[in-house]
Each structure stands twice: as structure tokens, then as C-alpha cells.
Amino acid sequence: MATITVLLPGEEVPVDQLPKARKGKLTLGPGLRHIAPSTILSTTTGSLYVDHKKSALWLEHDNGRYQPAVGDSVIAQVHHGGAESYACSLTPHTSFALLGQLAFEGANKKTRPQLKAGDLVYARVSRASKWEDTEIECFNSGTGKAEGMGPLKGGMLFDVSPSFARRLMMGTEKDGRSKGGVVVLEEVGEKVRFEVAVGRNGRVWVDSSSVRETLAVGRLVTQADEGKWNLEQQRKAVKKSLRDL
């Protein structure tokens, strides 16, 4: 079994942990920093992950709040509307992200969704930088298609940790194995019909035909996160909650 290297802030990445590939560029992910000429330091606490094929390495950790990055799917809550854009909050008590009034599928000045304070939208981060406001959009600006994004009606929002949200969004391998090690949603989905949207900012939106089912799905997700359930525990919990429904 491969051992996991845990790094503390300021620690050097051991040389034998670096990707084996001699060719190409080395890619550093979150939590790592390169100091010329040949030192790689960690900037946070986390466990080191190495992808030898892509010659990439990065740190993973559970704690911390969500930092917007371009391309992330997020669930944002409208705080107030402006002349050109809505101010939305991705995480509480941080500065707002801007959602253009026309950043929806097929929206023009006449036909655009009227959002009120407190409404939820599923959106993608289109611009994120340290110095400007984060911008989000509810359509693919290249194709003009919604691609599943837009206002979220009804349903319930559940909070999970950002790292768990990421694991939920990893998808599955070709053989159907979950990459992130989360199978709750797939397992429940075999028996119960529901709609789900996972935001990288640690929010999961669930909607179904009944309150009971929505709650059961939401509870399974939050408990799997808080209890750090493995696959076996997840399957067991799903079976139990399906019996109770």
C-alpha cells in the first residue's frame, strides 16, 4: 500500500516524491510553491498527491473556505440586483461575485430572468482573480448554451465541506468506479428520483417530489462528509435510509 506524505506549511517536498517523468514541464497544484532554482515548498498543511503521467503534484486538505477558480461550478445566492449585474454570495461573509443580467441562456434586454434577493443560481466562475470581483455566468459564453446552469427553483440546500464537494464532482472511471470515493448519490439514485446540483463552494442542492426524499438524500450527503464514510459505510447507510423511507 502506498504511504501518504503529510506536509506542514514551509516543508520541502522530498525529492523521491517528485514525478518520475524526466521530460516535459512539472505542474504544481494548490498548496505548493516553487522557489528557484529547485525547491518546492508547501504553503499549507495537507497530504501530497502525485500524478506521474501528467507529472503533476498537489496538496489536498479538508479545511479552509472556498476560493473561486475559473471553471468551477458553484451554487450562488443572489444578494441584490444592480443595473447590469446581480451581486451573489458564494460563501457567507466574503465579497460578492457578479452575475451579469444577461449571462443566461437566450437572455436579452427584454427576456431575462428576474431574480430576487435570496434566489439560488447554478453558475460557473468565469473570472477569478485576487484584485477584481469574481464573475460568474449561467451559460457557456462560447456556445451560448445553458449546459444545466441557471436559476434553481424549489428544493433544499445542504452544506458540505469544499473538499467533499470536489470529491462529489469528480465523476466515475470508465469501469464505473467513483473517482472521489463517494457513491451515496448513485446508490440512492437507483431507488429514488431526485435532482441534484453540486457547487464547488460546498453547497449541494437537492430537489425531489417529496420533502421526505429530499431530506433523506441531503442527510446522507452531509453525514457522509461529516462522518468521513468509506464506500462500505455509505452503501450501508443508503440501504438503511431507503428502508426508512
Binding site: Q77, S89, P92, H93, K116, A117, G118, D119, L120, L152, K153, G154, G155, M156, L157, W205, V211, R212, T214, L215, R219
Partner: protein, 295 residues
Amino acid sequence: MPREAEPSTNEQAFLLSALRENIRLDSRAFDAFRPIDLSFPGGPDEYGTAEVRIGKTRVLAKISAEVVAPYADRKFEGVFTIACELSPMGSAAFEVGRQDQSEILLSRLLEKTIRRSGALDTESLCIVAGSKCFHIRADIHVLDHDGNLMDASCLALVAALMHFRRPDVEIHGEEVTVFDVRERDPVRLAMQHQPFCVTTSYYDGGAIMLQDATLLEEQCRDGEIVISMNRFGEVCSIAKYGGTPVDGLSMLTCTNVALEKVKMLDKLVKDSLAADEKRRDAGGLMAELSAENDR
């Protein structure tokens, strides 16, 4: 001024529709509390610290005592003050150095429940009339806020007061000797009764009533009723700050439920105090070392 982030309209609507179907988001019964954990951190000589966790809400109460001169108009009484602090550690909505509405309400209610109901016998804190008395200070720190701060702080405060021991004193005329904990076993405070707060949140104009609401449930409620009483059913205060009106009958049901909860809280405090005593009384010598008089 920062405020607690408002829940989205989806969450509010879902919570209400769930409550109308008799479901709470964490699958509790309407009158059930979240699991309560009461502990007394500190070494064998440290008394008067109590930590309460109700679900994710976490409150720490610390009691301290010092010798001061009593107030000129109350020569035979000691001084008892309660200080509440909502620091940003508890929630990002709390700000340092600025009192917000909830903080004022919290400290006023604790004041009413504990101090004005005479839970602590302040006359027993007098050392020399008119010149020396004990000043008992209670500090409440909110470490984590997930609703129901009132009940948690009140529980922590009462538990800490019951756990606290003040240093023993000896009086020869005008001369007072205060003994260190290591010299003489410290003395318990004289409590006359133990009042507890029980908060009821109501929805739909009083048709739905909940005990021990979480933060989300608190943000969606129509109003709250805080009832403080002791285990004998003697009501110390009923507080309802704004919100929609409720009829008298539901107020009565509230009080009945509160009594049940107060009995539960009272038992919890007594049990935890007994367990803590056992833990501290390692060699079984406590009874021999005690300087307390039988009354």
C-alpha cells in the same frame, strides 16, 4: 454592521413545508433537544468552568471571585455580575467591541433569569459588612453559534455557578484572612434555586412550536418565547421580544413543555456535577478535607 447571512428563499420555503409535514431537518421531534454535552474542564484545583455543547452550539462559562468593597446602599450583600461576550470566534456575524441586538438580549435575559430571581444568595458573599465582600463574576463566551444560544448560555452559567468554589475566609474583628485553595478546601456558593431558560420558536402564528431551534430554524421563525423557570415550576421570567402575536393558550402549553425540559436540564447538571466530583475525588479523601460546616 455584519449580520448572519440570510438563508436563501429555497431553504426558507423548504423548512416551512417540512415543518408543516411534522418533519424537522435533523429528524428530531418538535420538542426534542439536540444531544447536550456538559463538561467541567480544568485541573483538580480549578473550579467554576463549564462548557456546554448543544449540537454544534458551544458555550463556555467561567466564574471568578475577588474581594471588593460592597455598594454603599447594599452593605450586607456581595456583588454578582454577568458578562456576555459574543466574539467573532462564535460566528462571523459577531463583531468585536460592538454590542449587537442579540448580545444585549442575551445578557439582559441571563441577568433576569439568574440575578434578579435571586438564584445566587448574595448575602452569603458578605465578609465584613460595609467594607469587604466577594465579587462573583461570570463570563460567558460563545465559542460556536448554531442556534439556541440562550438555553446553552443559561445552562453553562448555572452549571458553572454550582461547580464553583470560592476561597475560604477567616475573620478576626476587622482582619480577614483569605485562604489559598491549597491551604483550605474552598467553599461552594449558596444557591437558592437553579433556573433554566427554555426557548420556544414558533411558526405560522403559533401553530408550530419548536424547542432548541438550530440557526436556520431561528432565522426562519415568526418569533420566540423564552421561559425561565426552576424545576419546581416557578417561572422566573417570560420574554417575547417582538414577532407575531400568539394566543394565551399556546403560551400555557409552552410553559408546560418548558417545565419538562427544565427538569431534564436540572437532572443533567446534577448528574454531570456528581460525575465530575467522582473524577476529582481520586483518593476518596474529599469528605475528610472539606472545611464546609453542616447546616
